[in-house]
């Protein structure tokens, strides 16, 4: 499954970084602590978070995440969207809170680490 499949099936809005929509999704990681994501998420994961701060893009690049999904209708800050666009890191937005979004992604086959 790639990022654009997720966009369609989970009804996500693409806010930036459409250049990266072909990336393969290897699983999911959910956290609002950047340090936890840097330490534990793995390459190709989609990252579910509430953070809209520009640092999320750098973290995504560091871990080589396939996409960032902002929950509860959060919008990326302007600088976040600009950086994501430049780097081709998809920023997607869901209207659902984290628990429900993760539940749906999980049901689609995007698993977490165990």
């Amino acid at each position: 499954m790639n990022v654009s499949d997720l966009v369609q099936r989970a009804e996500l809005a693409v806010k930036a970084g459409a250049g990266g929509l072909d990336a393969e999704v290897t699983g999911g990681y959910a956290s609002d602590l950047l340090s936890a994501v840097m330490a534990n998420a793995v390459e190709g994961n989609v990252w579910v978070t509430w953070h809209a701060h520009p640092n999320i893009v750098a973290v995504a690049l560091l871990v080589k995440l396939s996409a960032i999904i902002l929950v509860a209708g959060r919008q990326p800050e302007d600088e976040t969207a600009e950086k994501a666009e430049q780097e081709g890191v998809p920023i997607l937005v869901s209207s659902l809170p984290a628990f429900e979004l993760v539940g749906r992604l999980h049901a689609m086959g995007v698993a977490g680490a165990t």
Binding site: L33, L34, S35, M38, H51, A52, H53, N55, A58, L61, L62
Partner: protein, 244 residues
């Protein structure tokens, strides 16, 4: 007694997110132009440029307080301000022991160490954007133990503030003041979160670029432009006072 105009939260080019031009002389010049008497240098989890800025400020009559913007385990930002070099050094040691990872300059930005003439003398290779393993109470208690002042950074911001991370200020957290960012006034923040009135407030720029230095400032009337005197002004001791 005199009134000192202070910007108590400015980064340098040592912070990964700090602009490359945030070097000692340039910063001092900008601060003087903005009419500041005092700046506090607070890089993320680092203090390697404090002395260079202090020396650059010395010739220009700008007081420079040494500080660190510490990231707690919960990713709360807390400013640690010190008069004594020893206090700052010990705080830095505590951070170094509990911060792991290496910076990736291409992603997070370079972490440049300077001399007082703005020349680059090295790089800090640690992952300064990371979080320490110190819970926020330990950060605050350590700052106090080492003789410093603890200010909760940008409490009105929705990331990396005590309110965003922990919902409200834990009752046993002994912060000396809360910092309000340029986008809000102290009155607005107090109106929005009346429980914060229990703490004195300062307003600082959190400058990451030269232009942002002095964008907002805090005045305090006291005997000297020092952390100790600022502390007394926050407490309203002996006719000292803080103005926002």
């Amino acid at each position: 007694m005199k009134t000192f105009w202070a910007d108590l939260h400015v980064h340098t080019c040592l912070s990964p997110c700090g602009d490359d031009r945030m070097r000692p002389r340039a910063m001092v010049q900008q601060a003087k132009q903005k009419g500041l008497d005092l700046i506090a240098v607070c890089d993320h989890n680092a203090s390697g440029n404090v002395e260079a800025v202090r020396q650059a400020g010395r010739g220009e009559g700008l007081a420079v307080i040494g500080g660190i913007e510490v990231t707690s385990e919960e990713e709360v930002h807390v400013l640690a301000l010190f008069d004594e070099q020893q206090g700052l050094r010990d705080m830095q040691r505590l951070i170094d022991e509990s911060l792991s990872g290496e910076n990736n300059p291409d992603l997070f930005g370079e972490q440049l160490l300077c001399d007082e003439r703005d020349a680059i003398v090295g790089q800090d290779t640690r992952l300064l954007i990371g979080a320490t393993a110190l819970r926020v109470e330990i950060v605050v208690d350590s700052i106090h133990h080492l003789g410093g002042l603890a200010i909760a950074s940008h409490v009105d911001r929705e990331s990396f503030s005590i309110l965003s991370q922990l919902g409200f200020v834990p009752e046993n957290l002994a912060i000396d003041a809360v910092e309000v960012s340029p986008r809000r006034s102290v009155a607005q923040v107090y109106a929005q979160r009346p429980e914060l009135k229990a703490y004195p407030a300062v307003r600082s720029s959190d400058a990451h670029t030269l232009e942002q230095i002095g964008a907002v400032r805090t005045g305090f009337t006291a005997a000297a432009p020092s952390v100790r005197e600022l502390h007394r002004a926050l407490l309203g001791e002996g006719g000292r006072a803080v103005m926002n």
